[in-house]
């Protein structure tokens, strides 16, 4: 029984299992929990349990002790879905967690959290089929695509958060296995059903590809024709702020330099 959350994105803060059946190491093992959302406050309840069958793990924050607790109390090899996008810590903490979760197929991470430190690991971990970098807005230009393609060569599904879609067609060159692309619609809230239908109608007018629109995203099934659609050339839906652009640029320059040195 867990303290049920009022919002779906809140981490678990309290935990009980009744009746408790403990093993020799005094840990109570459960294989019924498939999804966990952890933060620093979760550290206390982790102490007495071992989560053997977690396939979805969302990590909020990570300090030294917490990282060790996750390794000790969660069977990381079963994890298929890992979300570290709300972690505020520096890249090295994420880098230390990633090698333990080597069977992940879905990674949700901020673009600026990807670093050269993870390159070696991610290159080996070719099982990642879906990358979600939509937690915060980012640039999506040739250089970013180059970095992503090098880290995730087998990517099949990509979820981005950018208003500038002009470089989407080059995905065909860098990510030939890509099957779907999800991007924001450029409108945060539709006031009513009519506005939604009008948006869909206008998008159909502007593009040739079929799409699936959810509340905050549009998904396109990718093929050569979809990537060559004229929509992408005029597809600037929103504009990122100048500070964001500057941050992205400095991160990108550093990462490309590091990647280049690794190739040498």
């Amino acid at each position: 029984m867990n303290r049920y959350r009022y919002r779906s994105n809140e981490p678990v803060a309290q935990w009980w299992i009744a009746p408790q059946r403990k093993l020799n190491n005094n840990l109570s093992v459960t294989n019924r929990i498939l999804r966990l959302h952890l933060c620093i406050e979760s550290l206390f309840f982790l102490q007495n349990h071992y989560f053997d069958n977690v396939t979805h793990l969302v990590v909020g924050e990570l300090n030294g002790n917490f990282f060790e607790s996750i390794i000790k109390h969660v069977n990381c090899l079963r994890i298929k879905y890992l979300d570290v996008s709300s972690m505020k810590e520096e890249n090295s903490k994420i880098s230390s967690l990633l090698p333990y979760t080597r069977n992940i197929t879905y990674l949700r991470i901020n673009l600026n959290q990807l670093s050269h430190q993870q390159f070696a690991y991610l290159k080996e971990c070719s099982g990642i089929k879906c990358l979600d970098i939509s937690a915060s807005q980012h640039r999506f230009d040739r250089n970013n695509i180059f970095v992503i393609a090098n880290m995730f060569p087998n990517l099949e599904h990509l979820i981005i958060n950018t208003g500038d879609l002009r470089d989407v067609p080059i995905l065909q060159t860098y990510l030939p296995r890509l099957r779907s692309l999800t991007f924001p619609p450029g409108i945060s809230i539709f006031s009513d059903g009519y506005e939604e239908k009008l948006f869909d109608h206008n998008l159909r007018e502007k593009s040739q590809f079929l799409f699936q629109r959810e509340t905050n995203s549009i998904t396109v099934w990718i093929d050569q024709a979809a990537l060559q659609d004229s929509y992408w050339r005029k597809g600037k839906t929103t504009t990122s702020s100048s500070s964001e652009r500057a941050t992205n640029r400095s991160w990108l320059t550093k990462t490309i330099e590091k990647l280049s040195s690794l190739f040498k």
């Binding site: 049920y4 296995r177 779907s180 699936q212 990718i222």
Partner: protein, 328 residues
């Protein structure tokens, strides 16, 4: 030790691998008229194939669909979905509007968004299912309310003679379950998700599918319907579910008499071996559940209760935990 190559395996094993373990999409893409005559002959020799198009590459989908006529009588399993692949169902149904074309089809996973296809196309495809010999059907229908006579489409699925396992999910559809009244179903394993079902609707489901062995269903318990339920129950006596061994009830609503409303249904389940209850509303006194299970379900061996604690204070939380720690 030398490394064995796929080509060094005998024909019988390769055919076995193709038939039982590989996705038809991969077989066509990798081998069929791509490698050599031996492999072409082996693919042609296969008697059954399965095609899984879920999240597949668009080029692979169109490539396979183009070659489908050559394999149509061999396809035993088919998975089609619009999840991350918008337009897949419309494209498929444009080529194959009826599933009756697939004579050997036994398993189907079909995830359709009615908004994204022509409703008539989706309706005809659903109706064509009754002309197949499917034994397992997993179907997810988004915006089913856009379909003309959507309840009838579901009734026809329930009435399929060969169907043993059915999973049906919608996006919060309000179904009128009494349309099942008078129908008959051979379904043994039934899962229903996100289709509104009041406790009294179980009467119709039990009467229609009396041979159920496994039931996993979302149930709403609302005080507004309680009186209606007692009237309805008196009109329609409950069917005895002597085969039912596993029941999973996902219970929504805050009606404190949930346990007593379920009691007559429990009494119709003499062989129930495993019961899982997931409560998404308020928990009434746990001891009443204990009594209910002891008096109504003599064969019960496994019981799981999951509940939300949104409505609990820390003090009554500890008292509930204490009561659950009992040896019962």
């Amino acid at each position: 030790m030398s490394v064995s190559k796929l080509e060094s395996l005998p024909n019988e094993i390769l055919v076995d691998i193709f038939e039982k373990y590989l996705n038809g999409v991969d077989i066509i893409k990798a081998f069929d008229f791509q490698l050599n005559r031996r492999f072409d002959a082996l693919v042609a020799q296969c008697e059954r194939l399965r095609f899984d198009f879920v999240r597949c590459h668009k080029d692979d989908f169109h490539f396979c669909i183009g070659l489908f006529p050559a394999y149509i009588d061999k396809i035993e399993e088919l998975a089609l979905s619009e999840q991350n692949t918008p337009g897949q169902i419309h494209a498929f149904l444009s080529f194959y509007p009826s599933f009756a074309t697939f004579k050997r089809l036994r398993k189907l996973y079909f995830h359709v968004n009615v908004e994204a296809v022509q409703p008539a196309l989706a309706y005809n495809a659903l109706r064509s299912l009754s002309n197949t010999a499917l034994d397992t059907l997993s179907i997810k229908i988004i915006k089913i309310q856009d379909l003309y006579r959507s309840d009838n489409a579901i009734v026809e699925i329930f009435s399929m003679k060969t169907l043993k396992k059915l999973t049906i999910a919608c996006d919060g559809y309000k179904m009128n379950w009494n349309v099942l009244n008078g129908g008959s179903s051979n379904i043994e394993y039934l899962t229903i998700r996100n289709i509104s079902c009041q406790s009294q609707d179980l009467t119709y489901i039990f009467r229609c599918a009396s041979g159920l062995k496994y039931l996993d269903i979302d149930l709403s318990f609302d005080t507004l319907f309680r009186n209606y339920q007692s009237e309805s129950s008196s009109k329609h006596p409950l069917t005895r579910m002597s085969m039912l061994h596993t029941a999973i009830f996902n219970i929504y609503g805050n009606d404190q008499t949930t346990h007593s409303q379920l009691e007559p249904y429990f009494q119709c389940m003499p062989s129930l071996h495993r019961l899982e209850i997931k409560l998404y509303g308020r928990l009434s006194d746990f001891s009443v559940w204990e009594t209910l299970l002891q008096t109504s379900l003599p064969s019960l061996a496994y019981f799981t209760l999951e509940m939300t604690t949104v409505y609990l204070t820390d003090s009554n939380m500890s008292s509930i935990l204490e009561s659950i720690q009992s040896p019962f």
